[in-house]
């Protein structure tokens, strides 16, 4: 089946949405980005920028310093340029398009916005990045190795330049943990900080500037749990 009309245009019903349209449909409001500790707004990029605005600025040739240097904004523009090229090629293909393709693509785009921040690694211009979720898994495992401690959450904030774009540099870590009852918390928190710094350096290659530890639960010690059975 040919999906183009005589003029070579794609019929509206079969036209695939552009990346900008897909992203626009995922937005419901324009609430500003919260702090690093707040739940990220799923409608915004992890750096807090509105994806539609980033695309509009690039289209007008008016990207600001943040958008030119932020890995998340640049990733959006890269994905958009590649998807734009592919959708143009799709429009020329004489093959049937699945009815629910748009819905399925939108699901993927939404999922892509929930991957956490991108953490630049190494030196500037090396173009090396690590997802926040991957780094957090490694740091949580290091925390869990401390006897009796359970990591509940781990957020990692990349080093940012003056424009608020993530650039290589020491990151800030915020941990929420459950700790064993009766354990001196200050000493335990120091041990957790040391575990996090060591894991970040030895396993990931990330320098850590600060580790904030929130104790959000007290667990009964393993011995007590056994005695209560």
């Amino acid at each position: 089946m040919d999906v183009t009309n005589e003029a070579g245009d794609v019929p509206e019903a079969l036209r695939l949405p552009s990346a900008a349209e897909l992203l626009a449909t995922t937005r419901h409001d324009r609430t500003p980005a919260g702090s690093a500790d707040a739940e990220p707004d799923p409608n915004l990029l992890p750096c807090g920028r509105d994806p539609e605005a980033v695309l509009e600025h690039a289209a007008a040739g008016g990207s600001d310093e943040h958008e030119r240097s932020c890995p998340e904004c640049q990733a959006l523009l890269r994905d958009h340029s590649v998807l734009d090229q592919v959708t143009r090629e799709w429009a020329e293909l004489p093959v049937p398009v699945p009815d629910d393709l748009g819905v399925r693509v939108m699901r993927l785009v939404r999922a892509e916005l929930h991957t956490g921040r991108l953490l630049p690694l190494g030196e500037p211009d090396e173009q090396l990045t690590l997802t926040e979720s991957a780094a957090a898994r490694t740091l949580r495992a290091a925390v869990d190795a401390e006897p009796g401690v359970q990591a509940r959450s781990c957020r990692i904030r990349p080093y940012e330049n003056r424009a608020g774009a993530a650039v290589p540099g020491p990151v800030t870590v915020r941990l929420s943990v459950g700790v064993p009852y009766g354990e001196p918390i200050h000493a335990l928190a120091d041990r957790l900080r040391e575990r996090v710094r060591r894991a970040a350096s030895e396993r990931l290659g990330l320098e850590v500037a600060k580790v904030d530890v929130d104790v959000v639960g007290l667990e009964s010690a393993a011995g007590d749990r056994e005695a209560n059975r």
Binding site: A58, D79, Q85, V86, L101, V109, L128, T131, R137, R203
Partner: protein, 114 residues
């Protein structure tokens, strides 16, 4: 709207992607290439996008061939070291195989292994 990436020949694009994917997989510490958004779109499109190498995307901007590589790293390797090795290996191989000298490789590590 930003101008779409300048087209390179389809054959060149496929060569760059396959070369980049193969080079990345030879680096110790690379578990596998990690499909990205476009690969997922390709999967649900029922074969509309063909000849893709999952985890590798290429485009040309301002005369520079950009290659994006996403991969999962093994737990027994330091992520930064693996990422640097992959970038060096992919850059060298893509230059050699395609003849393109202006190549920039972008690395995204999606899993550090635990």
């Amino acid at each position: 709207m930003r101008q779409p990436a300048t087209r390179i020949s389809r054959e060149m694009s496929i060569l760059a992607r396959t070369t980049a994917g193969s080079a990345a997989l030879t680096v110790p510490g690379v578990v596998d290439l990690q499909p990205g958004l476009l690969d997922a779109v390709a999967q649900v499109s029922g074969g509309l996008i063909q000849r893709r190498v999952p985890g590798v995307t290429t485009r040309v901007l301002d005369g520079i061939l950009h290659v994006d590589v996403q991969f999962r790293a093994a737990a027994d390797h330091r992520v930064l070291d693996v990422a640097r090795e992959v970038r060096a290996a992919v850059t060298a191989e893509v230059r050699r195989q395609t003849g393109q000298q202006r190549v920039v490789v972008h690395i995204l590590v999606t899993d550090a292994g635990v």
